[in-house]
Symmetry: C2
Subunit: 581 residues, 2 copies
């Protein structure tokens, strides 16, 4: 080895030892006859000292070292006179006796510091330099540690990791597939998996009763901030279990990760039916670190002559405790907020319960103080509270109110960083009606089982059928979702019919799965977690991109390697394809 220790390792107890270190020049500064260098590697920073008086030639060489040069040094560990309590190696420094330059470096295009001067585009182009920054190192290490803990926990519970294929078959369900032309089977294509869904179900048929895999998945979607064309899933499936068994098992996994990764004890995983989540929070992924649940006000507020409310399908309010003294300006800002196109409300009604007990609202001319008091009582409001009310189309207004609730949570610092509140959303609807294609779509996926008691209405009233489907939501982030699957061919066929598949289509797409179900499929179900998201949540990050070593930008490009790129005609010809544009 070129080194005896890392740059994060030496302590005062090692004073006097001869050591060698390797790393990058983080900082180089002269102080009188001394030169101090901060040497950095993955593990930390160690201070090197060169003394002009003792060894002028060596010190002269050291002064020429530029930022990010790679060096190997030998020297003796010494106690520092001027200790730095901020870093673990801050008690010592190395009196350098030998210096070897392993490689030089051009001046980096941005500073390699926590608060860098590089914009995202530049950092992505030089991702190999960006990744040198402490923040990114912490993120990569966190990701590694979480993967190790996931695997060891699931292994300890008799789950086995089984690798499923990447070159599979295109399916028209759901998002778009990425496809791969086959040279050996001309004119034919593989598809990259959106998830190993069918394979994990086949593994259950094959008797591997507890499967998992941390696996890359691919979706050719138009990208948003928190989406990548390739992403990583913790994919799991179990046999001979019901929904509660599955939820219990993965609460165990989540509890283990909270404890081992964050040293946080999380014991409570409440369950909230989908319908109720929408009623109380306007969202199927509510952040329950704070309350501020919705109260519906149709009965109390309609019929008083206020047109907007009278015409609305839903009137709904939240109580912002202690905000009764909000200024005109603050209230206008909230109105502007709800009117943003992505929030989508047309206006905001407020009721201020003043500290002196008086009531002031934006709709005083339609509602008497008694009317107002009734609303306040409905919220069990106290003087000093503020009620915020939206009215309109129920779906739209629930969504707008959910945004407003989160905005108020932010303003009131109710979303405590470091506090984690997991929540199961259960009883999702099995199907939803799609206006565009004029047919039902599977809300989760077409293998999800309906609740036993709802099977009789599967064909007569499809949208009312609830599924054995669940999402795990933590602090408002959907971390994972899954379902108990259908393991019975007849029920699966019935569902395909409701979904508008012809028998031929169903056979062409899922024939092998339907066939498999005829050879003794066990009851089974599972879940898949978005690993990128979970890591981002634990790392308290904003974007999953910061937790992926080599992410793509919003146009699906890797700007570092400049991909995708054109192919030669020779190559296209060999594959039997040509580009049409």
């Amino acid at each position: 080895m070129l080194r005896t220790h890392t740059c994060g390792e030496l302590r005062i107890s090692q004073t006097g030892q001869n050591v060698s270190l390797c790393g990058w020049i983080q900082r180089n500064r002269e102080m009188g006859g001394l030169t101090f260098i901060d040497l950095r590697d993955r593990y930390g920073i160690t201070q090197l000292v060169f003394n002009m008086e003792l060894n002028a030639s060596l010190c002269g060489d050291a002064r020429k070292l530029g930022r990010e040069f790679v060096v190997c040094i030998q020297g003796k560990v010494a106690e520092r006179s001027n200790k730095n309590p901020k870093i673990p190696t801050g008690d010592i420094e190395i009196l350098v006796e030998k210096l070897t330059i392993l490689n030089t470096s051009k001046v980096p295009p941005f500073t390699i510091e926590d608060h860098t001067d590089g914009g995202e585009e530049l950092r992505m182009k030089y991702r190999y330099l960006d990744l040198r920054r402490d923040e990114n190192k912490r993120n990569m290490l966190l990701r590694h540690r979480m993967a190790i803990e996931v695997r060891n926990y699931l292994n300890s519970k008799n789950f086995i990791e089984i690798e499923t294929p990447f070159l599979i078959k295109s399916t028209p369900e759901g998002a778009r597939d990425y496809v791969v032309p086959s040279r050996m089977n001309e004119g034919e294509f593989y598809a990259l998996p959106q998830s190993p869904q069918t394979f994990k179900q086949l593994l259950m048929v094959a008797g591997y009763d507890r499967y998992f895999q941390i696996v890359r998945c691919f979706r050719d979607e138009d990208l948003r901030a928190d989406r990548q064309p390739e992403f990583t899933q913790i994919d799991c499936e179990m046999s001979f279990v019901n929904q509660d068994d599955i939820l219990n098992t993965f609460e165990g996994l989540a509890t283990h990760l909270f404890k081992t990764i964050l040293d946080v004890d999380v014991a409570d995983f409440p369950q909230l039916p989908y319908e109720e989540a929408l009623k109380l929070y306007g969202s199927d992924k509510p952040d329950i670190r704070f309350g501020m649940t919705f109260i519906e006000l149709n009965t109390l507020m309609k019929g008083k002559g206020f047109r907007v409310v009278d015409d609305a399908g839903l009137v709904v309010g939240i109580k912002a405790e202690g905000c009764g003294e909000y200024s005109r300006k603050q209230l206008d800002a909230l109105t502007d907020f709800v009117r943003k196109p992505q929030v989508g409300a047309t206006g905001l009604v407020y009721i201020k319960y003043n500290p002196d007990g008086s009531i002031k609202s934006s709709v005083d001319k339609f509602y008497s103080p008694e009317d107002m008091k009734q609303v306040l009582d409905e919220f069990q409001a106290k003087p000093g509270d503020l009620i915020l009310i939206l009215a309109g189309d129920p779906d739209q207004i629930r969504s707008s109110m959910s945004d407003l609730r989160l905005e108020m949570g932010k303003r009131l610092n109710l979303m405590t960083s470091g506090e984690f509140k997991p929540l199961w959303i259960v009883d999702f609807p099995l199907l939803e009606w799609d206006e565009e294609s004029q047919r039902y779509h599977a809300k989760h996926h077409p293998f999800t089982s309906p609740k036993e008691e709802d099977i009789p209405i599967l064909e007569s009233d499809p949208v009312s059928v609830r599924a054995n489907a669940y999402d795990l939501v933590i602090n408002g982030v959907e971390i994972g979702g899954g379902s108990v699957r259908i393991h019975n061919k007849e029920l699966q066929q019935q569902l395909f019919k409701v979904l508008g598949f012809s028998d031929e289509e169903a056979t062409a797409q899922f024939g092998f799965l339907m066939n498999a179900f005829e050879y003794g499929a066990p009851p089974h179900g599972g879940i898949a977690f978005g690993f990128d998201r979970w890591v981002t949540l634990f790392g308290r990050g904003e974007s999953i991109r910061d937790f992926i070593a080599f992410p793509k930008n919003n146009a699906g490009r890797d700007v570092m390697i400049d991909s995708p790129s054109a192919l030669s005609n020779e190559k296209l010809n060999e594959l039997g394809i040509e580009t049409t544009r």
Copy 2:
């Protein structure tokens, strides 16, 4: 949970307990008034008993259960009168009190037994049934256990697993890439990685000094028995190390796997230079569980008038101990063997050292008994030994003799199953001349560093340059290979020049890596192991297909899901491509 125990779990100490089990019907047989059922799950087999006298209706139901039906039973653990010492649950049986059919099954197309009646094609089509067989379950479990051990070992040595992208950029070097058309960047393509080579080198530049990943890789090659279009690699890279450090580190990994997975102690990892491996074994992946090394006989045997030998570039022999009494028929069989097209020799010369001390050879008319005795002495042969000799073009004849040596090893049972002899092949040539393209190719890959002392002859005598490259070979199987990389831009450019890349080509293909090398690249090197092969070796299997859950056949097809397949015109249109054939 539908079950309290698995089918592999119950022992005599649990007699009297009420339990419930789930599984598949393996066997169903009547004996007088009793019905015995073998219930199977992933963990084992448990015998169920139904008694016609005690519960005629239940026993009647049991008798109707067909093979591979899925059931859940409740009952009481009882000691068996007729114990079965062959299975861990053989001391007990379950007196069944309740039977629930969870699913029925059609009669499987082949028997789900160790020695099945299903041919490979049929088993691949119904892979989900094939995977129920014990042998395949053992293989999948072995693969899982090895992956867990690899990860935990490397983690304990400060390696971190970092996921690299799958949608990358096509490179013309080496084997063919699979490509993926980009819908968002029309006319452009991603490529699937043949390995994360460049990314792991970028991670070293980024300072992650110990990286690994168990990762899928893709090569669009014409397939052979032990190749798959997608395969799994244990990919590793380290910084601030020399070749010995790397070999030591991964000897540690191999030793750990031998111990934890096979309970075998393997301490010795000899190193053999590539040149010497060819001279002694005619192969760069020799099986050294037995000796039988080559002895070159040009000096002793040429010039005696035997044309075949006199014209040969190489005359080489091996000694088969104790085979001096081989019959005419046995010797003819060996001659037939070396003449097979895949072995490629034209004939075989033998010298029998008879037990009585006399000598008999196939070339008595050219060589005197004294000539023969000299050859025997060269081999330190004893009466009863047999010398086998081939002559011809050196490369061809080394390869043929390597095959003959392995054949003799097999016939003499010298390749002991359960014995493992690892070996490093070192000092590979850096380059090889390619007749077809009339240029040099990188033997390993274009980032491999030449031996320091050979750099001066890089341009004058390229084929003589040795590389800091190494393969790990175990029992004649190449398990992995790697090299110390070039970390210096000038040397890399010099090598690209020797490889016939123009500056433009080098920049277009590897510009981002070359750029990265200008910002402080540390000395680094690594290795990649073929995980499929390593698992196959440990599982004593013949084909890697048996250790992959859902393998493809030799035409690159998945016959279970019928992939690859045609795409709709709509889909092709959306991607901006069309098929030309």
